[in-house]
């Protein structure tokens, strides 16, 4: 079984590559849709901006690859921005212009900016950066095998996902508001946090994706 890691100029892939190597999962990095279409699974990371990421995906023809892969029911794992732009749209626009950035639309939903607010009389800082806990909303799901409820994972983001269907939500996190930090629809699983940077718990969670048979 070979996993393709999608490279679309959306930040550093080193930690994902290292994590898969450590887990002993056979993987290759590519930005070529033809090559990636031969993979059994795809990991779709992302650290960048929603609009820039979508531009790069289209330019490389990777938007069609992802849609095709998803329609064939082959497993895809979205991480961080990769979990956001599988939805219909994002409020993250170039230079913060009004409107939305149209995204891949594999899963019905939208992406919104985290509100800056006050908690205990101090402002909530955005980006939401650091270790926060994930409440498991689907106990017993194979992607959570070996993971305790309210385990901490590493987050870095300013936007959060809001899928339309609440039944697909895997996990939620509290930061000013409670928002969705994991969901699964058909063969697509998505985590807002970075399992590859979340220590041993993160590696266990990441490993579960490769044993998952959607």
């Amino acid at each position: 079984m070979r996993t393709g890691i999608i490279d679309y100029d959306a930040g550093n892939l080193q930690s994902v590559v290292s994590a898969l190597r450590r887990l002993g999962r056979d993987a290759f990095v590519s930005s070529d849709p033809q090559e990636l279409s031969k993979a059994d699974r795809l990991v779709f990371p992302g650290d960048g901006h929603a609009a820039t990421s979508m531009e790069s995906l289209r330019r490389l023809g990777l938007d069609e690859l992802l849609k095709d892969f998803f329609q064939r029911g082959r497993p895809i794992l979205g991480i961080c921005v990769g979990s956001q732009i599988v939805l219909d749209s994002s409020d993250e626009t170039p230079e913060g212009r009004p409107g939305v950035t149209p995204c891949l639309g594999l899963v019905a939903g939208t992406c919104h900016r985290l509100p800056k607010g006050e908690v205990e009389a101090r402002p909530l800082k955005v980006p939401h950066m650091g270790w926060n806990t994930v409440r498991i909303e689907q106990p017993g799901h194979p992607l959570f095998r070996g993971i305790r409820d309210e385990s901490a994972f590493y987050f870095v983001h300013s936007f959060y996902t809001e899928p339309v269907k609440s039944s697909i939500v895997l996990g939620t996190t509290e930061y000013g508001l409670r928002f969705v930090t994991g969901f699964v629809q058909d063969s697509l699983a998505a985590w807002q946090f970075h399992p590859e940077k979340s220590g041993e718990v993160g590696l266990t969670l990441l490993d579960n994706f490769f044993d998952w048979r959607p």
Binding site: S15, S18, G130, W131, Y154
Partner: protein
């Protein structure tokens, strides 16, 4: 809610750590990767590698250290020291660091912060700032550079706010007054900066006991606390510090 972070800082010179003579658990002394791994296993939340290599021709050794750390350690880490151009920053990020810390070069050339933020996003750009108490300054604190030896005309709070507006996504705030004293963090300046900026503040300088971390995370309102010698010399493990903090009601990752 978001956990308070414990960050361990390792000074690296020509590829070797400069502290840690009493480091235990069969760790190869002097190897930053082995030391980083030991802290990783103790549950540290983040690491900072500070390159204090003086000679330019030996700087590339650090890139190799970064690459080896990235293969072994699955938590975020930051690299600082001697990064003064976009190319320096690019090399470190591509080798696998999540963040770069910009200190003196950012004071000399504030645009470096903006450039780095455009390249890799604000979350990857850390402003490292050294401050000294100085009643002549508006906020009561002056920014100093070159390890505290050179005063600047910058007010600490104004510089922090400027760096944030240029795109710094985090601030490591080091008090030169407290640094090396092991008498505790400088709570006043930490609280001042942390409550005025919209990005996380990592307190640095002065940690000697777990109580000092509790004070700076609670009274000082820091988002994270940086430690070095108190763990390098085996006085405390990261886990002991975290267990103490959890007992005192600080929300940490255990």
């Amino acid at each position: 809610m978001l956990k308070k972070r414990i960050v361990v800082c390792l000074d690296v010179k020509e590829g070797k750590t400069t502290k840690g003579i009493k480091f235990q658990d069969n760790v190869e002394l002097g190897d930053p990767v082995e030391m980083a791994n030991a802290y990783y296993l103790q549950g540290v939340d983040e690491l900072v590698f500070y390159d204090i290599t003086a000679s330019a021709e030996k700087r590339p050794i650090m890139i190799d250290v970064v690459a080896r750390v990235a293969q072994k350690i699955f938590i975020p880490f930051c690299v600082g020291g001697g990064l003064s151009s976009a190319e320096d920053i690019r090399r470190v990020i591509l080798a696998g660091a999540e963040k770069v810390s910009l200190n003196s070069p950012a004071v000399k050339n504030p645009e470096l912060i903006r450039t780095a933020a455009r390249m890799y996003g604000s979350q990857s750009v850390v402003l490292g700032m050294d401050v000294l108490a100085d009643p002549a300054m508006k906020s009561g604190y002056r920014v100093v550079i070159n390890g505290g030896r050179t005063p600047t005309g910058l007010d600490a709070l104004e510089w922090a706010l400027q760096a944030e507006s240029l795109g710094a996504g985090e601030i490591v705030l080091n008090s030169i007054d407290a640094d090396g004293t092991k008498a505790g963090y400088e709570l006043t300046v930490t609280r001042l900066i942390s409550t005025h900026v919209g990005v996380p503040v990592v307190a640095s300088g002065g940690a000697g006991t777990p109580e000092h971390l509790r004070a700076v995370l609670q009274e000082g309102r820091a988002d994270a606390a940086l430690v070095a010698s108190m763990v390098h010399y085996g006085t405390y493990t990261v886990r002991q510090i975290k267990e103490f903090l959890a007992e005192k009601g600080v929300d940490v990752r255990l």
